[in-house]
Amino acid sequence: MRGFLLNRLSQSLVLLLIVSVIGFVVLNLIPGGPLAQFGLDPSMTQDDLNRLKEQLGLNRPLWMQYLDWAWRLVQGDWGHSFRDGAPVLDVIGRHLVATLLLMGSSTVIAIAIGTWIGIRGATHRYSVFDYLATVGAMVALSIPTFWFGLLGIYVFSLRLGWLPAGNMYTIGDGSALNYLHHLIMPSIVLALVHVAIWSRYMRTATLDVISQEFVKTARAKGLSERRILMKHVVGNALLPMITLAGMQLPSVLTGALVTETVFTWPGMGRLFLDSLGYSDYPVVMGLLMFSAILVVLCNLIADIVVAIIDPRIRLS
């Protein structure tokens, strides 16, 4: 176990290093840069722009900027946003809660419904339900989220007036009920795609288990279908889903760009888009490292969890 952990950790460090170098270089290759936003402002002269460039340290060679940034990061200093001057970790923290709320609730919905549809589709293979679920998943996967979002806003907010047209809460009303009311539409819209993905994987995994010998044995022993399903099939089918969950968890924390924009949800996805738009290098790099670390950690945790649950796998 210890050897496994050390091995994985050293691999992860190399991965993070590569991600940071590539991210830094690509980010600086994008034309424009943080001062482009002043390009059309007549009151900023070329002198003013040069002065700001120097003050932000952007006139140094790229490798020097990278080393400076990386050295500070190693020491725990993630830098300050170019836009509002706040420490990068604070900036991320401010948006993390909103994203957790949205992605958390949509993931719970997606897993619950997706698992159910997947299992039912597998046990009632080629039934009307299975066909409908398959077609529904295809539709949900092929129609863009923003379209679902706008359709939802049009129907439920503008026409019916049941749900708010966006935002995380009504300004001036911080009650839990108000948050919940605002959460309904974006989390369901976001869950649609995940339900589709989750149910397809779950169906395949369940079918895989059902055809195993030990299920036949259980049937031969005369166990009820319900007992076979609950005790033998679902548990085994869920194993590969843990790995899938490990791969999806980072996206829970890094946010959903499109949905957050349509529903004016102040989460991580929008932070990333805005920071990229203004070439706010420290924040973009911070987000990149944050999500890279999450991916590494979540995969590691998924591997460990699978090993603990499944006695056939030993980490060595």
Binding site: I30, P31, G32, G33, A36, Q37, F38, G39, L40, D41, P42, S43, M44, T45, Q46, D47, D48, R51, L52, Q55, L56, H80, S81, R83, D84, G85, A86, V91, R94, H95, A98, I153, S157, L158, P164, A165, G166, N167, M168, T170, I171, G172, T261, V262, T264, P266, G267, R270, L271, L273, D274, S279
Partner: protein, 554 residues
């Protein structure tokens, strides 16, 4: 001193002139001239106004480099020495008077300035506002490590001397009249808070500013909104609403949808898109108006390209532009025909410029007479120069792309080939634009800085970035007479004398056509019915320049 209205709203152009001539007594005369809302003294601020913005304000230290959308917050939390009113006339704000040569605030040679301040102003934390704060503010802007916004004008200030808590003087390195207007966008920051900070760039103040303005900082939910509360001790008129919220809505369509659904009380930057104007007008309970903006949408011609050196080409192209059709068919009727770079709301606008006539025959005739002869492919040429050029703008701006296609066709009819070559914003407005690497470009730009008529930055030959100049004269326009007039205008303080100078500049530029005006930008403003005291102001960059005067109809 009684609570004075900070700005005027109901006087005529003649009154404005008289005010400016009267100079120093303006602030004493203004209240009588205007009258005052009867309930101003008694009303307690009530209600809340939610303003929608399509970009997020993030810079709250008003002296640091920021963009237009941040102004909405700055104008509400802070005050400057003066404020530019909707007629383009300076009104005293923190200053007790607008200094002029007539009232002795500015010496005859324009070098020595004296500012008198109000004595009844306090910071939001209760400390009195004094001349020391003004001195500190002006010195902070030019201090070497501070990431300041505009330093133009400020860098000329020397020997700031505090005479008394309500009076200070300084010397200018050279006479520079636009500085008065610049000061109207220079918000005062508190010395007693910022002087203690080791690094003003990262001070806590920048996240929770303290000003003297009509609204106090309450909180910011990053990525979502900023909330301000009424400053009941405000020295000026207002505020009448208790809470002012700036809500960030990143998508223009969603911004409009939330205005429609009632989540937003007023749409500020970047306003309602033109394609929603027709529908917006019919919304019940909403007031939707067209208001002029400060920028001019035009086709910039790079005058160093051989195709555009001949004035006849520029005149012919201008005659070949069916601007009315472009505004009506492409821009949904939102846009105002103009011949000048000066906004119509400016006191310095020249209304007597010759009006462009769309006439293809005339365009062909001009080119024929100038010796541009159609070649075998139908494209005109002269001395080996083919009348063919690229036109560039931000890719994805579909209205501008339609304009390009429209012009491409009409230009082809007079034997001119225009090719479309668009690029992403960051590429377009970087070196490509600033260093004049384009043939021609469609851009919406503001010529004035802080609504001062001085357009040196865009029209003076020393401001050509491609030739090492430090301005943004990207058309590479160079006319010695314009240069001389601009230099004279920057040294001249009297509004009437300046008006003559800039009227002449507009005449010459209209004749030379370094850019072909399409239309003056027009914003579709929307607000809820019952929100009163709202006044648009093309001389500022935000619709929320005077939220102090907003109130809900009771």
């Amino acid at each position: 001193m009684a609570k004075d209205p900070v700005t005027a709203s109901t006087y005529s152009r003649r009154d404005a002139l008289r005010l400016m001539a009267a100079g120093g007594i303006a602030c004493f005369a203004a209240p009588n001239l205007l009258g005052k809302p009867a309930f101003a003294e008694t009303a307690k601020p009530t209600g809340r106004v939610v303003v929608g913005l399509s970009q997020e304000p993030t810079v709250f230290n008003p002296l640091m480099a920021h963009i237009e959308v941040d102004d909405a917050v700055h104008f509400s939390v802070f005050d400057a020495l003066f404020r530019m009113d909707p007629k383009g006339v300076l009104q005293p704000n923190l200053a007790a008077e607008v200094p002029t040569q007539k009232n002795g605030g500015i010496s005859e040679d324009g070098l020595n300035w004296r500012i008198r301040l109000r004595d009844d102003v306090r910071w939001h934390d209760g400390e009195p506002f004094t001349a020391e704060d003004v001195k500190f503010t002006l010195e902070l802007i030019t201090s070497p490590n501070f990431r300041a916004w505009r330093t133009g004008g400020h860098s000329l200030v020397r020997d700031i001397t505090v005479v008394s808590p309500t009076e200070l003087t300084w010397r200018m390195e050279e006479a520079f009249a636009p500085y008065l207007s610049f000061l109207a966008e220079t918000f005062m920051v508190p010395k007693h808070i910022l002087a203690k900070e080791a690094d003003p760039n990262t001070a806590a103040f920048n996240q929770a500013p303290v000003g003297t303005g009509a609204f106090k900082w309450a909180q910011r939910v990053a990525g979502d909104h900023i909330e301000l509360v009424a400053n009941s001790e405000y020295f000026g008129d207002g505020p009448y609403v208790e809470r002012l919220v700036f809500k960030y809505i990143p998508d223009m369509t969603v911004l409009y949808t939330q205005f429609k659904s009632g989540d937003i009380d007023l749409v500020d930057q970047a306003y309602i898109t033109a394609d929603h104007y027709e529908e917006a007008k019919t919304l019940p309970g909403r007031v939707v108006t067209l208001e002029p903006g400060a920028s001019l949408e035009s086709i910039f011609l790079n005058l160093e390209k051989p195709q555009f050196k001949d004035p006849a080409v520029r005149q012919a192209l201008y005659a070949a532009m069916d601007r009315k059709a472009i505004i009506d068919a492409i821009y949904f009727g939102v846009g105002t025909l103009t011949e000048s770079f000066m906004p119509k709301e400016s006191y310095y606008f020249n209304p007597n410029l010759p009006a462009q006539q769309f006439n293809l025959d005339r365009a062909r005739q001009i080119l024929d007479e100038a010796g541009w002869v159609p070649g075998e492919d139908g494209i005109r040429a002269k001395d080996g120069v083919r009348l063919s050029f690229n036109n560039s703008t931000t890719s994805g701006n579909n209205l501008r792309e339609q304009v390009q296609q429209f012009l491409q066709q009409t230009f082809a009819e007079i034997g001119v080939e225009m090719k479309i070559s668009n690029m992403p914003a960051a590429v377009m407005w970087g070196e490509f634009w600033l260093k004049s690497q384009f043939d021609s470009a469609i851009a919406g730009v503001t010529y004035l800085i802080a609504a001062d008529p001085d357009a040196t930055n865009r029209l003076h030959s020393s401001a050509i970035g491609a030739k090492g100049g430090k301005g943004s004269n990207t058309a590479q326009y160079s006319n010695p007479e314009v240069d001389a007039l601009l230099e004279k205008g920057a040294r001249t303080f009297g509004p009437e004398e300046r008006r003559e100078i800039y009227n002449r500049v507009q005449e010459i530029v209209r004749q030379d056509l370094p850019f072909l005006p399409l239309f003056a930008s027009t914003n579709v403003l929307g607000r809820k019915e019952g929100l009163e005291g709202f006044e648009p102001n093309a001389n500022t960059r935000t619709a929320s320049w005077h939220a102090a005067g907003w109130r809900w109809q009771s």
